[in-house]
Amino acid sequence: MATPPTFTNGTPLYQESLNSIGLWLVKSQTIGTGVSSVTVTGAFSADYDNYVIMVSGGTASANGSVRLQMNTSTGSTYLMAGTYGNFGVNSGLTYNPAATTSWSDIMLGGTGGSSTYVLLNGPFASRPTYGFTETQNNATFYKFSLVETSTNSNTGFTLTPASGTLTGGTIRVYGYRN
């Protein structure tokens, strides 16, 4: 049978249907009030190769970058490159910093809120992790490709604002069915 996009009471849970569902919610983490860092554990495992991290609904004490470091990969193995800009002012500004110990600009925090969508390929696998981020607050946007070059296997990550704190909102981690 075809996989229905919605289920109703009494819909049989056919194996074929369940095994065709592409995206599964792995973790949902509410961000506290005025925290300087947020660690999410148990996000990555052998169950999935590819993940989406979505952060939305919260605010930051200042507009600016938030970095992400995975729990096992702590060396200078994080690279990111791409474009950024300011809404209504400019776009296509390039950014390609040297390797650091985190993805230093994977997310934008915003006093008026922000939204972040990160795709990661292989954070748990013992090989480099690839991905991209697309994030924006009400003033700025980032679009960066990501690579973490170590062969470490990671199960979680920490988000840390470059300055200030985060309040509220939710970090959701989804796994793509292999």
Partner: protein, 44 residues
């Protein structure tokens, strides 16, 4: 009357659902990581 000591605001760390104040060692590591990190400056 002047204050002789500065009262520092506690630095909060969140690990999953637990939110707590950072230990002095964690604060030291956190401040070092902030000082050593380079990121795009806030544009506004």
């Amino acid at each position: 009357m002047s204050m002789d000591t500065e009262t520092k605001k506690p630095v909060l760390i969140q690990i999953d659902d637990e939110v707590r104040e950072m230990t002095p060692e964690e604060v030291e590591a956190y401040e070092a990581s902030i000082a050593n990190s380079t990121s795009l400056p806030s544009p506004d």
